[in-house]
């Protein structure tokens, strides 16, 4: 585990709050010089604490208004249940996340669709054809109340 000091922590908090901030802006908000901020960030990157930066995409602006969380329970009598299911799920373009769990849910898929009719098509034609499904349950997203991906540092 990487040991953070106060300066690292301040930098990471500000970065999490605003990933777009430029170096000068970031340094000013953390009360350090640009050189210090730059050196610290380079160190956090080489230590693997900062893995990278990703663009945030608004799928609604691209016409994907429906997001459904599909909670799948697999037939574990099949030794290859997880591998087969996940490999097949990767072929569905509308699948955004593939997560595995310890608990009542084995695998969770985030599915994006343009509208409920499109979702119905994906569900019937693609999802229900995935191998080794025991049970499947849908949670339809109404709204994101909080979506920060921030860590309590």
């Amino acid at each position: 585990m990487f040991a953070l000091d106060d300066t690292d922590r301040r930098l990471l908090r500000q970065l999490q709050a605003e990933g777009d901030a430029g170096l000068a802006d970031l340094a000013a908000r953390c009360g350090v010089t640009v050189a210090t901020a730059s050196r610290r960030l380079a160190r956090l990157e080489s230590a693997g604490v900062i893995e990278g930066y990703e663009a945030v995409i608004d799928w609604r602006a691209l016409g994907f208004a429906v997001e459904v969380s599909l909670r799948v329970n697999l037939d574990k009598t099949q030794p290859r249940a997880f591998d087969d299911f996940i490999t097949a799920a990767r072929d569905i373009p509308e699948v955004m996340d593939i997560q595995t769990f310890l608990g009542r849910v084995d695998v969770r898929l985030t599915v994006l669709a343009r509208d409920m009719r499109h979702y119905q098509e994906i569900y019937r034609d693609r999802i229900l054809g995935l191998p080794h499904i025991n049970d499947i349950e849908a949670l339809v997203l109404v709204s994101d109340v909080k979506n920060s991906e921030s860590l309590p540092l």
């Binding site: 777009d20 900062i50 990703e54």
Partner: protein
Amino acid sequence: MIALDDIDRRILRALMRDARRSAGALGRDLGLSQPAVWRRIRRLQDAGVLKGRRVRLNLDALGFGVTVFLGVKLALKGRVGLGDFERAASAIPEVQLVQHVLGRYDYRLRVVARDLPDFERVLRRRIMTLPGVGDVEANVLLSNERRPGPLRGPLGG
């Protein structure tokens, strides 16, 4: 709604992997000039498709060994406003995600913790004491794969 062509999709895919790729570097990969890439990025920003960038931190390196997804059912609907639950849940630092959903549960929450005892502390002291909270189901995240999503094939239509 904005229409994308194949080059737009490739730009979005590349920026999802690395938001710091410069227009020049993207242009070299795509066989376009830097101003041409820049114009496309500006258009995607103006249409609200590109909403900025987010730092990706390594949870293990920072000592967050456990991520748990919770399904929460409210017990006293009507008596406790949804707003009370949402405000209180959003205020918990360990709660990264609060989604209002339709289905077996009313809310989905993502919780990060140092380890399982730390998660238990958050669950008992913070989650179980939320206003109106009823049935709670916990699933511990084992693996997480982010896919490029519907940017592979043709969009819209």
